[in-house]
């Protein structure tokens, strides 16, 4: 019995490593021109957004999460940030000229998402 519990605990560690670091979310949303991003329950939905290089994209952040953590969205590599009004929406317009992945997060880096520019 003890051996089984030990094995299960080790398997759990393996699962944590795999789930949070190795496995990637497959839910990539492709955005044309404009996309709504819901901020609720500690996450951005969708959190992985694919956009086309060189095209203007409007990210419309809709904040339903009252936690102070959700107040700001920061695109650190792009030098862009915005305050998200509670129960309101905020549009962020971006035109990304370079391919790559650009993360966005709350001020503390707990809510996370990324833009994939192709």
């Amino acid at each position: 019995m003890d051996g089984l519990i030990n094995l299960l605990a080790l398997a759990l560690i393996g699962f944590i490593v795999w789930w949070f670091w190795l496995a990637k979310s497959r839910e990539v949303q492709v955005a044309q021109k404009s996309i709504d991003v819901i901020v609720d329950g500690g996450v951005y939905e969708p959190s992985i957004i694919e956009v086309s290089r060189g095209e203007m994209i409007t990210l419309n952040f809709i904040r339903r999460d009252a936690s102070p953590c959700a107040e700001q969205v920061v695109f650190a590599e792009l030098g862009v940030s915005a305050e998200l009004p509670l129960e309101g929406s905020k549009k962020i317009e971006l035109r990304l000229e370079n391919e790559g992945e650009f993360g966005f997060s709350c001020q503390m880096g707990m809510y996370r998402g990324k833009l994939i520019v192709k």
């Binding site: 709504d36 329950g41 996450v43 309101g88 880096g109």
Partner: protein, 747 residues
């Protein structure tokens, strides 16, 4: 708000350039061609358009401008701030209510435990615990539901955050306790302890901590609130010859506004009638009111002091200087300097690491812990999950930057981003451009020496002669005469002698004004006065000789006056341990004279404008961390080359996009203020980071029971919950201390 609903918005625009009712139809038609527009109505009287549909304001503005009109979005940041505050207050009250509900269940149970009054698991006692299980489930759902839903959503996104830790910690405590209540025989008798009260109290404490944190965070954005508060709510517009008070959102581009004494200026504009003085201290930190007359610019948010003027609106809504400043401060407040990147990287992987530590703690106690193993395993694992606080780490840098950038704005110092704020504290050398930075940048008459003692007469003839010249020194002489209310005579036969001076006839007399070479060429003897000339040159003044009908009459000396507070500000830079270098295109004698008066350490004179960046690079090559302070336009390459570029402005007329730091007023004290705020902010960030690292790196091992082999004591999960709730509050409160920061030796 439903996402579909959110797409349907109504946008109000101010439309300029509509001269007739025919334009109304043209603008309406233009707006309707924009994709997503459902309806567009133009109000000719108000010069506004109201557009509904699912489009962006920018698309509307672009279309209207392309059609040959002007347009800007009408939106009050004031209104947004009020909505935000109201929403936050509701949430704050909810947090307190949820905390209270959890405490009502948890605290009595906790006290019963302390008093040893807890019933056992047999008979009526079991029924009691079943009731408590239901009550505490209510607490988990009502007061802690957001942690569980947040944890699940994050999990689905392959993410883990604070909610994950809280939900796992309290959920495990409740689940284990329910198991004991329902099936007590599963564990040995001494392990039959339940933790319903711990789960409830932890939820109460975390909600309470969130409420306190929210309050404290509200204070961190006070600087922005103060700037938003500068915005006037109404304006007095002149329409069809009538003056009427309208909400500021209804003021259109190009409209004429009346400004009366004591009123706040509503939008940016240009004076078209009258003169006044304006208090711009709230934006620039400059205590003296600024005189304004025809064609001078007025800036929204500043206060009219004495006169009544009419002015034309040139920038409204989010295009005003005030709105752009607010936006710049907001952006800067959210940017992260290098110092916070390590904490960011740790915060990103923190929660999964804590989960792994929790499992390792479980394994350690399960395999090596004393009996009752189940109880020890649960307490330690739960405490590890509860005490870990990624928020304190993640908040440490941004919250201090938020307060620091806001604090700098209070002194009229606009910092572009967190990186610039951090670098300003690491500077070793400050390079000051001379003209317009150390000096006023406007030459003026500084000394008059007349051989007959008639200084006014000397200036009068010199100014009469120079009235026709466009040379900067001539302008200084004419302005000097006008300031002294001297009358100027008409000049005839005016000739400029290149590199020497000017000559002409005034009131029947032949006048000469120029340098020593001009006097020599014209064979006018000035040998007796050369001592005076050298004395003036040593003081940085440019002496010009005046001769009337072939005889020496006196000297008019002109200089670019040093700003009254330059010396004191440079002293402050020295006190901060910085080397101060002055850079100028002027000749060495003048430059050294100025340098002596203000006390700079080194002078780089006769530097061509294009070589300034090279001089900065030279200093950097010697290992110096260099700030360049200049006017932001002519010195742009040097500002860009420097580690921190300071654009120094006069009033608010500055290119705020051009430098790392923009000084809203012309004083060098702004540089010293920026450096002082930078150092205080970086110190504050270090305190926060140190506290957050120490808290987590001590707290987690203690929670895991590292001290148990030595002391036989374990950390109570309730204490861990309290510590966790307070850790973020402590970080935010520490950042808030910066709000009271005052630079040393401030005027």
């Amino acid at each position: 708000m439903d996402s579909n609903v959110s797409k349907q918005t109504t946008i109000r625009l101010s439309v300029g350039g509509m001269s007739c009712a025919g334009c109304v139809a043209a603008v309406e038609d233009t707006l309707k061609t924009v994709p997503g527009v459902a309806e567009a109505r133009v109000n000719f009287a108000e010069h506004t358009a109201e557009v509904s549909g699912s489009m962006a304001a920018e698309a509307l503005i672009g279309a209207v401008v392309a059609a040959g009109y002007e347009a800007a979005e009408l939106k009050g940041s004031d209104e947004e701030a009020e909505q935000k505050e109201a929403a936050e207050l509701v949430y704050y009250r909810q947090l307190l209510k949820k905390s209270m509900a959890a405490a009502v269940v948890g605290v009595p149970l906790f006290l019963m435990g302390l008093l040893g009054a807890m019933p056992g698991m047999s008979g009526g006692g079991r029924l009691f615990w079943l009731l408590v299980a239901v009550l505490s489930l209510f607490v988990l759902v009502y007061s802690g539901g957001r942690f569980f839903s947040g944890a699940w959503k994050s999990f689905k996104n392959h993410n883990a955050n604070m909610d994950t830790l809280i939900a796992l910690g309290t959920g495990t405590a409740w689940g284990y306790s329910l198991l004991i209540t329902l099936l007590p025989d599963l564990v040995p008798e001494q392990a039959r302890h339940v933790y319903f009260e711990a789960a409830a109290i932890i939820i109460a404490l975390i909600n309470f901590g969130s409420a306190l944190e929210m309050r404290a965070r509200g204070k961190t954005s006070e600087a922005i609130k103060r700037l938003i508060g500068l915005q006037a709510k109404t304006a007095r517009v002149v329409r069809n010859g009538q003056e009427l008070d309208v909400p500021i959102e209804q003021v259109g581009l190009g409209e004429t506004l009346r400004l009366r004494p004591g009123e706040k200026i509503a939008v940016d504009g240009v004076i078209i009638e009258g003169h006044t003085s304006v208090d711009e201290a709230m934006l620039t930190g400059e205590p003296m009111p600024v005189e304004k007359q025809m064609a001078d610019e007025l800036v929204a948010g500043t206060i009219n002091k004495s006169g009544t003027v009419l002015f034309r609106a040139t920038r409204i809504g989010k295009d005003t200087a005030l709105a752009r400043i607010i936006e710049m401060v907001r952006q800067a407040q959210n940017s992260k300097p290098a110092i916070g990147r390590l904490a960011d990287r740790i915060a990103a992987v923190f929660v999964p690491i804590v989960l792994i530590i929790a499992v390792l703690t479980f394994l350690a106690w399960f395999n090596f812990g004393p009996e009752p193993r189940a109880a020890y395993v649960l307490v330690t694992t739960m405490t590890v999950l509860i005490i870990a606080c990624p928020c304190a780490l993640g908040l440490a840098t941004p919250i201090s930057i938020m307060v620091g950038v806001g604090k700098a704005a209070e002194f009229g110092v606009l910092v572009r981003n967190g990186e610039a704020l951090q670098r300003a504290g690491q500077l070793t050398t400050v390079v000051l451009d001379k003209t317009g930075t150390v000096t006023e940048g406007r030459p003026a008459v500084t000394e008059l020496i007349a051989i007959d003692g008639d200084e006014q007469g000397l200036l009068s003839v010199a100014a009469s002669l120079e009235a026709g010249s466009e040379h900067p020194l001539a302008e200084a002489i004419v302005t000097g005469a006008k300031q002294r209310n001297l009358e100027l005579a008409k000049v005839q036969n005016f000739t400029a002698i290149a590199g020497q001076g000017v000559q002409g006839d005034v009131a029947g007399q032949r006048l000469l004004l120029g340098n020593q070479k001009l006097m020599a060429d014209m064979q006018i003897d000035i040998s007796a006065y050369l001592d005076q000339v050298q004395h003036l040159a040593r003081q940085g003044q440019t002496p010009m000789f005046v001769a009337v009908d072939g005889r020496y009459r006196g000297i008019v000396a002109v200089a670019d006056p040093i700003k009254p507070d330059s010396k004191q500000a440079i002293e402050r830079l020295h006190q901060a341990g910085l080397r101060v270098v002055m850079l100028t295109g002027d000749n060495r004698a003048t430059a050294e004279a100025v340098a002596r008066q203000v006390g700079v350490d080194e002078v780089l004179a006769e530097v061509l404008p294009g070589d300034k960046a090279g001089k900065v690079a030279g200093l950097q090559a010697h290992g110096e961390v260099v700030a360049m302070v200049g006017d932001g336009i002519n010195d742009a390459p040097a500002l860009a080359r420097a580690d921190v570029g300071f654009a120094i402005g006069s009033g608010t007329d500055v290119a705020i996009e051009s430098a790392d730091v923009t000084l809203m007023r012309g004083s060098l004290h702004g540089v010293a203020d920026a450096i002082a705020v930078s150092k205080a902010t970086v110190r504050n960030i270090k305190q926060n980071l140190f506290g957050a690292f120490v808290y987590n790196s001590l707290g987690i091992p203690v929670a895991a029971g590292l001290l148990f082999p030595f002391t036989g004591m374990l950390l109570n999960p309730v204490i861990a919950g309290a510590a966790m709730a307070m850790s973020s509050v402590t970080v935010v409160s520490n950042a808030n201390r910066l709000r009271w920061f005052k630079p040393q030796d401030k005027r």
